[in-house]
Symmetry: C2
Subunit: 123 residues, 2 copies
């Protein structure tokens, strides 16, 4: 699977949440920052399609609807592994940093030690 960029990831997150959306809907869903131009979103969505990360489903009016063609998990896995390689293969310093900076608490770790916290936190 091709690697996704920052902006591509942002749009993928919207699509994973909405399940299916048009260019306009994806753009409207960007709320925490200045929205890029309509055609910017369109371009990136097209690139995502070329990369095989999303696909067109149907048309509503003259607008295409898009849906994810890959799972969030598989996309993230790719990112994780790439990142691991970037920092030399060992996750230790990363985890140490997370704990040090308080981004990951001991409670989190304890929860993760167990098989799985309970399926249902997704969506």
């Amino acid at each position: 699977m091709e690697k996704l960029t920052k902006l591509e990831l942002e749009l993928m997150n919207i699509l994973w949440r909405l399940r299916e959306a048009s260019v306009r809907e994806v753009r409207e869903a960007i709320v925490d920052r200045k929205r890029p131009a309509y055609t910017t979103v369109q371009t990136v969505l097209l690139r995502l399609e070329e990369k095989g990360a999303i696909r067109k489903t149907r048309k509503i009016g003259n607008a295409f609807m898009f849906e994810p063609a890959i799972t969030r998990k598989s996309a993230y896995r790719r990112l994780f592994d790439d990142f691991l390689e970037l920092i030399g293969g060992s996750p230790r310093p990363l985890v140490a940093h997370l704990i040090e900076s308080g981004k990951l608490t001991l409670e989190d770790l304890k929860a993760l030690e167990k098989p799985a916290p309970k399926k249902g936190t997704k969506r």
Copy 2:
């Protein structure tokens, strides 16, 4: 601090290890893959200097020697935070993936829970 790219990181890692090195020495230290051209290494080293990540120390013959101007820790911190933002701020899926894939064992976590394993594992 500016963000470092993959290749820049690779060269930084060599410099952090050698403490001080010339363009040639840095290039020679690349062993696990096809060495880039001499001038490629030179160019990237120059860019690293512009970014303030390394500095020239002295000349040996007509060759400059370079040394790191930033710590590995601070460079990594920048990467970690950027990466966290990329995956939406939560380290949970990351840690879950690490455990799942066996890259991080429960023993690692236990060791990290304690204040610090002992200063001296560096270098």
